[in-house]
């Protein structure tokens, strides 16, 4: 009896205290945001590219190509270049999007009907375990509440639950900022090039033969689930590894490719990580992200390759 009393009081008091304190830090404003934002750095405000690209994505529309992936995706596939080939592309890439979150986005947003071809832009970094940045961004900014809830629950990090509570309580508030000016169908290009200082800094990583990539087992499991989801729904999809600069670690990429090869039999995979000959200085703004010049040089041959492989026949 005493045991039950202890556990009961502990549980009730925890829930009551959590509710009261959480509501307080959400309701009390500081600088037009909930005061919760000053208690920890992981909170992300509503607004910006992720918010607008999901708000503008039409689940009932018809897109020839939809792209999922990390910032390499949303910086790397330009709808205007695809439009030149008569294709409507929508870019759902988001900052640091982990493969786990790619799965939840696909589950909520992608259907056979709205997507002619799904490009899953791969990045080895998206397979690292426990990626809070991506989850926090999506929990706050997805317009689909159930997808947001799934991400909050499946990231297995209590901070994501806090983030989800903030989202739900502030659901009726509009976005608090917009730095997505110039975004076209989810694509936001950059025109700057690799700075000499950064080039010098990144030389170290190129020369380092050390493998720093640690792929999470759960992330690989979610990749398998993503492939299975696409197959079950009859979604036409391909995997693409977009170009990287010469500063990108090939040691890490070799580990990534070795691991992935066991999971993609029968799936079309276009690995451009080192094969396109893009100038690292002129076509990238850092080691892994292309600028608009790089995107131009990548997207046009990609369209040709996709057509040649029969992926764009819809």
């Amino acid at each position: 009896m005493r045991q039950l009393k202890f556990i009961g009081i502990l549980l009730v008091s925890t829930i009551v205290a959590y509710t009261v304190i959480m509501l307080a830090v959400i309701v009390i404003p500081y600088n037009n945001r909930p005061v919760a934002f000053i208690t920890n750095s992981y909170y992300i405000a509503k607004g910006g590219p992720t918010y607008y690209k999901f708000a503008e994505f039409d689940k009932n529309g018809k897109y020839d190509v939809v792209v999922l992936g990390s910032s390499r995706a949303y910086r790397g596939y330009n709808p205007e270049i695809f439009a030149d080939s008569g294709l409507v592309l929508y870019n759902l890439g988001t900052s640091a999007q982990s493969i786990r979150n790619t799965y939840f986005i696909a589950e909520s947003y992608i259907t056979k009907e709205n997507t002619g071809l799904l490009i899953i832009d791969l990045f080895s970094g998206a397979f690292r375990p426990m990626q809070l940045e991506s989850s926090a961004d999506l929990i706050q900014n997805l317009d689909d509440t159930s997808a947001s809830r799934d991400i909050a629950l499946h990231t297995k990090d209590i901070r994501c639950l806090n983030m989800y509570v903030v989202r739900r309580v502030t659901e009726s508030d509009g976005p608090s900022f917009n730095n997505a000016v110039g975004m076209v169908n989810g694509y936001l290009g950059r025109s700057d090039s690799l700075m000499p200082a950064m080039k010098k800094y990144m030389q170290y990583f190129r020369q380092s033969p050390e493998v720093t990539l640690r792929m999470g087992e759960e992330e690989i499991m979610y990749f398998d689930k993503l492939v299975a989801l696409c197959q079950e729904r009859g979604i036409n999809f391909v995997l693409v590894y977009s170009p990287t600069s010469t500063f990108y670690s090939q040691a890490n990429h070799a580990v990534f490719t070795d691991t992935l090869n066991n999971h993609i039999s029968g799936v079309k995979y276009f690995d451009y990580s080192s094969s396109m000959g893009l100038s690292s200085v002129d076509c990238f703004y850092d080691d892994t992200h292309m600028n608009s010049t790089g995107v131009e040089q990548f997207n046009r041959p990609l369209i040709v390759d996709l057509k040649r492989a029969g992926c764009l026949n819809r």
Binding site: L10, S13, V16, I21, M22, A36, I38
Partner: protein
């Protein structure tokens, strides 16, 4: 695996389920297995080292006990202690010797091979040494059961960062089949949650402010270094006493009482008092097994025997914390302060008599606290050069308030930093009352349980999650 991880919570829950199910006479086996899994979790190879340390102390103590001739007895003790200390030196101090060699040799010259520091080695070595010395000084008989002795040295709640228990405190509790009380579980859980709060809400939050200045000390004025070092003092206390609270709480859940390790050290009015309140299990160890024997061995030197014993003790105290020159400097500074207090006792008594008590006490507290903070520079700085640079700046540009304001505002973090400062101040203001109550509470009522629920909610909401290691793990 650390206490503040999900893995540990699962591990401990599974451990408790099995521990309470088996009859008392088999519980030591469950404890030994759990301690083995806990310690070997990250690097199973270190279990060999732990086992070697246990065997050396156990066999050595038995040998000492059985030896009648005092000279042979002393030899056996010296051999046992030397072997244990040799293991400690081999795994902890080769890097330090390299640091010294590098001062006198060319870059790329001769260096000793360095081994990776096993977690908790300083703690479990001192714990087993105390047992050997207790047997030698006839404070206790040797433990005949190797299994119980293994649990005494490797007891998982305390192996990584203490408190360093004495055999007379812990071994009888492992063997006493007293009835387990549910109130112990309640008290253990409450104490654990308070420790977790200290670690995640206070220490790790402040750590973010501290880390910035210590990462690039050359960029900041002395005033910033004073500011962050004072915060580091709070961080270190919250981190280490938080760990201790968690260790004491975990042990309490299974009905075992570990010694207290802190007695509100930052209220001390002199360094002697500080060491009676800070890391008590280590200070008491050093007092009993080092300071007192050294002092008595040189008693014909009179007052200078005390000075000599203080310096040797605190040099070793510094080195115990880490194999770096910074810790030697830390030890020397403590030794110097304690020597000053010893030699100026009469003078200070005179001043105290002629001064208003409030003024004298306040100044004594302030000077002591600032001195402790200053010494912590050598605890926290990454290199000796960094620590000397910071120390120098603390005496030159200590008045630059604008630099502190600027530091708080870097990267637009002012509000978050100020919030963290408020958390730290509230913690300091309430710690004595809360911890004092937790230590003495007999049977927690609904208020205490509800208070713990609030702590858990605060940990979930305000905790800085993701920074896992405890500061004292590296010692």
């Amino acid at each position: 695996v650390v206490f503040n991880s999900t893995d540990f919570v699962i591990f401990f829950a599974a451990f408790c389920a099995v521990y309470f199910l088996v009859p008392f006479s088999f519980r030591w086996i469950i404890l030994a297995l759990a301690s083995t899994v806990f310690y070997g979790w990250a690097k199973p190879v270190y279990l060999l080292l732990l086992s070697a340390s246990v065997l050396i102390s156990w066999i050595g103590a038995n040998k000492i006990y059985k030896t009648v001739n005092p000279k042979d007895r002393k030899r056996a003790m010296i051999l046992t202690v030397s072997l244990s200390v040799l293991i400690l030196i081999a795994f902890k101090y080769l890097g330090f010797f390299n640091e010294i060699i590098s001062v006198f040799s060319k870059p790329g010259g001769f260096r000793l091979p360095e081994l990776l520091l096993p977690l908790g080695i300083s703690f479990f070595t001192f714990q087993s040494l105390s047992y050997v010395l207790d047997v030698h000084f006839k404070v206790r008989k040797p433990e005949p059961h190797l299994g119980y002795f293994f649990v005494f040295v490797s007891f998982f709640p305390q192996i990584l960062s203490g408190p360093i228990s004495r055999a007379n405190e812990l071994l009888p509790q492992l063997q006493d089949p007293k009835k387990h009380l549910w109130s112990d579980v309640e008290r253990g859980i409450i104490r654990f949650c308070w420790g977790l709060f200290k670690k995640l809400v206070v220490a790790d939050r402040i750590g973010i402010i501290v880390d910035g200045a210590y990462a690039n000390p050359e960029h900041y004025a002395g005033s910033v270094h004073w500011f962050v070092t004072i915060l580091y003092a709070i961080q270190l206390y919250a981190d280490f006493s938080g760990y201790t609270d968690m260790a004491i709480g975990l042990a309490r859940i299974i009905g075992i009482r570990l010694p207290e390790n802190f007695d509100f050290p930052y209220i001390s009015k002199n360094i002697t008092e500080f060491w009676r309140r800070w890391h008590l299990s280590l200070s008491n160890w050093l007092r009993d097994y080092l300071y007192t024997p050294i002092m008595f061995s040189k008693k014909k030197w009179g007052k200078w025997a005390v000075v000599y014993a203080i310096f040797i003790t605190f040099l070793i105290c510094g080195l115990w914390h880490g194999a770096k020159l910074t810790f030697v400097i830390f030890g020397i500074l403590q030794g110097a302060a304690l020597t000053w207090e010893l030699l100026s006792k009469d003078l200070r008594a005179k001043i105290q008599k002629s001064s208003p008590p409030v003024l004298y006490n306040t100044l004594s507290w302030l000077v002591t606290f600032l001195f402790v903070c200053f010494c912590f520079v050598f605890f926290r700085a990454d290199t000796t050069a960094d620590s000397l640079l910071i120390a120098k700046r603390m005496f030159i540009s200590f008045y630059d308030v604008n630099a502190v304001i600027q530091y708080l505002g870097k990267d637009g973090t002012t509000a978050r930093y100020l919030f963290s400062l408020a958390v730290a101040l509230i913690f300091l203001a309430t710690d004595k009352q809360i911890t004092g109550k937790l230590i003495t509470i007999e049977s927690p009522g609904w208020k205490s349980i509800a208070w713990t629920g609030t702590m858990i909610a605060l940990i979930v909401i305000l905790g800085v999650l993701g920074r896992t290691d405890f500061i004292y793990f590296k010692f």
